[in-house]
């Protein structure tokens, strides 16, 4: 798989985690792609941190509305039944446990469910935006990312970068597998049939627990 196919594969698998009626917040980048692969018959409501529910796809060229952008500043549309609110209400929704699932990328995740995705000291300090609130407040936190950063481990025994939140991640989905964060560690529950368990373990900086019911990923 090339890089784009990997992203689509991850996004397709994440989409299968979403349930009918879920309120979902998707991070910028790969997580945003999840919206393109929502299974038939499943209706979800997308939340945007800058203040609305019912976010729709990007508008057609020439149809952009300067009053309607997503949390990345990109033009979007509003689905029928959508609603706008201010930042306090937006984060009441996020922090009060009213978002069912948030999907976001990571620089590092560890076996305690700790997440680092907002800064690399001395190199990149963009700020946390709404990420700390989302991973602390959402009922389910899914990390969707490439398994490694050009070969170097991102799934670790212990994060080395400044944390976004402690013990927050529930599920990790990469092009190699689907992993649950459990009290005993990271459990590989599904695997991309293109890889062996040994290859997935070698690409992981923590010792994986291999599920007794390990299944192939279906997308």
């Amino acid at each position: 798989m090339d890089a784009n196919m990997e992203k689509e594969y991850i996004a397709r698998r994440v989409a299968k985690e979403l349930k009918d009626g879920d309120v979902v917040n998707l991070g910028i980048g790969l997580p945003t792609m999840v919206a393109n692969y929502i299974p038939e018959g499943i209706e979800i409501t997308l939340q945007s941190e800058n203040g609305f529910l019912g976010m729709g796809p990007a508008p057609a060229k020439g149809e952009e509305d300067s009053y309607l952008v997503n949390a990345g500043g990109a033009f979007v549309t509003l689905n029928p039944g959508g609603v706008f609110f201010d930042s306090a209400e937006s984060f009441l929704i996020i922090r009060g446990g009213h978002v069912d699932t948030t999907v976001l990328g990571a620089l590092e995740v560890d076996e305690k469910g700790n997440l680092a995705n907002w800064m690399v000291p001395g190199k990149m300090v963009p700020g946390m935006g709404g990420a700390m609130d989302l991973v602390t407040g959402a009922k389910k936190v899914i990390v969707a990312m490439n398994h490694t950063a050009k070969g170097s481990h991102k799934i670790l025994k212990e994060c080395t970068l400044p944390l976004t939140a402690v013990n927050a991640v529930d599920l990790i989905i990469t092009e190699m597998g689907v992993m649950e964060v459990t009290e005993k560690g990271i459990e590989l529950v599904e695997i991309n049939p293109e890889f062996t368990v040994e290859q997935v373990q070698a690409a992981t900086g923590a010792t994986l627990i291999i599920s007794e019911n390990l299944k192939p990923i279906e997308v």
Binding site: S48, E49, N50, G51, F52, D65, S66, Y67, L68, V69, N70, A71, G72, G73, L78, F84, F85, D86, S87, A88, S90, F91, I94, R95, N114, M124, V125, P126, G127, M128, G129, G130, A131, M132, D133, T136, G137, P162, L163, T164, A165, V166, N167
Partner: protein, 218 residues
Amino acid sequence: MNKLITLEEAADMIHDGMSIMFGGFLGVRNPFKLVDAIIEKGVKDITLIANDTSFPEVGIGKLIVNRQVKKVIASHIGTNKETGNQMNSGEMEVELVPQGTLAERIRAAGAGLGGVLTPTGLGTVVADGKDVVEVDGKQYLLEKPLRADVALIVGAKVDTKGNIRYKKSTRNFNPIMATAADLVIVEADEIVEAGELDPDDIMTPGIFVDYIILGGDK
């Protein structure tokens, strides 16, 4: 009381060293005319409070590029390289605040609260130097209220009493900032007579707004 003023009169009220809240999100609907007036006046040593520092060439991002800001309090600075540059060189102080915490700190100030308790930031650098409070066995960070000397906000339709109706995703921080500053000026896309807005549609009551300037449609 006549709340309608000119851009020049608004600029006269803004001085060096003030803390200023700006509505808007990633450069979408900052109070562009008020920002340009601050640039023209050359106000210095601003403490800038906003969701983000926009882009270098858009809205409040220009205040950073112009070196008019001594401190930034925001949730995100990644879209304006100049913010990072001045932070790294030590010319400007940056306090990064989780977006929800920023909203709640401003709301707390406006609501007369002594702060808010939130689990956001526990176990991270955000918790450094802050009190951890335990309530019913759960830990929370104490985040203190955040006020400003001035709030410069934007409204789509504003009546002559200062009642504001926002439009779509441009509401963001404006309604809470309107409650948490000593001086509140709204830049209106459109100004209408009092009574023309349906009272059920008003999102910020005019009592929070000191002055109105006409921004016009952008």
